[in-house]
């Protein structure tokens, strides 16, 4: 477990040093490039804010009105059977559909139940290990005007499901 923690903790610093040394080796102006990238980051954050605002409003309403607890109560027999904490269900359902939307929901879950709790970790793991499946399929097929996608949606959603179930199991094992 100690090694695992070390690996987790050192992954980011190691990647940063690797990239910077590589940049120096190829005689790039690393600081100037860093600034350009960071500037681009500003645009990403600014673009994200309105979505976050909208999602927080909708998810806040769902929770404060009590309807989320009501829905969770209805489906909990199924999720209990699969050992999935029902609190992460809204995330699991929204994840393949909307990237920024699911990010808003994930943040909401982590704030509500604690970022370092089991539920918080599962939500983080789901966010890190899955993609916005519908969006990806849509743009990749639209750009070549392909209409028949055969089994692609089924295979992609199956992979999402496997990733989510694994997220739940692995977080339970490693907590």
């Amino acid at each position: 477990m100690k090694f695992v923690n070390f690996l987790s903790a050192s992954a980011i610093p190691l990647i940063i040093i690797l990239i910077i040394i590589y940049g120096l080796k190829e005689k790039k102006k690393v600081f100037d490039i860093f600034l350009d990238g960071a500037k681009e980051g500003i645009q990403i954050v600014v673009a994200l804010f309105p979505t976050l605002l909208g999602i927080f409003l909708a998810v806040g309403l769902l929770r404060n009105s009590g309807i989320l607890d009501f829905i969770i109560g209805i489906i909990s027999p199924v999720t209990n059977l699969l050992k999935i904490p029902s609190q992460i269900l809204p995330l699991a359902m929204l994840r393949p559909i909307s990237g920024s939307g699911s990010m808003g929901v994930a943040i909401d879950i982590m704030k509500q139940y604690g970022v370092d709790t089991l539920i918080g970790k599962i939500a983080s793991t789901i966010m890190g290990s899955t993609e916005t499946t519908f969006y990806t399929i849509a743009i990749y097929t639209a750009c070549v005007k392909v209409k028949k996608i055969r089994f692609v949606l089924a295979a992609a959603l199956l992979a999402d499901l496997a990733g989510m179930i694994t997220s739940v199991i692995i977080c339970q094992i490693m907590s």
Partner: protein
Amino acid sequence: MLNIIWPIFIIISIIYALFSGNIENVSNGIFESAESAVSLTLTFFGTLCLWNGIIEIAKQTTLMQKLAKLLRPLINFLFPEMKKNNEAYEEISMNIVANLLGLGNAATPLGLKAMKTMQKENPKKDTVSNSMAMFIVINTASIQLIPTNAIAIRSSLNSNSPSGIILQVWVATVVALTVGVTSTKILMKRF
């Protein structure tokens, strides 16, 4: 999609609150959610810009091409039809490397280019070819080495260990990818 889901969430919540007596709660929560969106965006700002800056350095070096070479055996296995097509091969491997490095902005244009190149060899223009199907499924799995967004969210929420989920993410990603690739390989023979 959110144009449908978002109003439904709001409407059913408010109607439910009216009947369940939670309407005061709901009313108070509306402006709280606006406030928390602001505070979160502010904390999010630093981590996201920082990572974007680091990644930009990687983009400007030959690191991506080097990594693409390492992936050769894997890509040969996944895209047997593309062995002879150098152009598609290059674009596919660069897309996968960009994904691995978390370069979403770079991965998508490369991916779209790869799709167009593969479409040229596709006998049925309105249907995805085997290679295209595999390529899309891989792109719907998140294969980045460092889940930067998840880590950024965690650190902005004052986690004790923002990167403490990296290993869990790797395991979940590998399982998801394996399931995606395996089911694609099986399904492409039947459908």
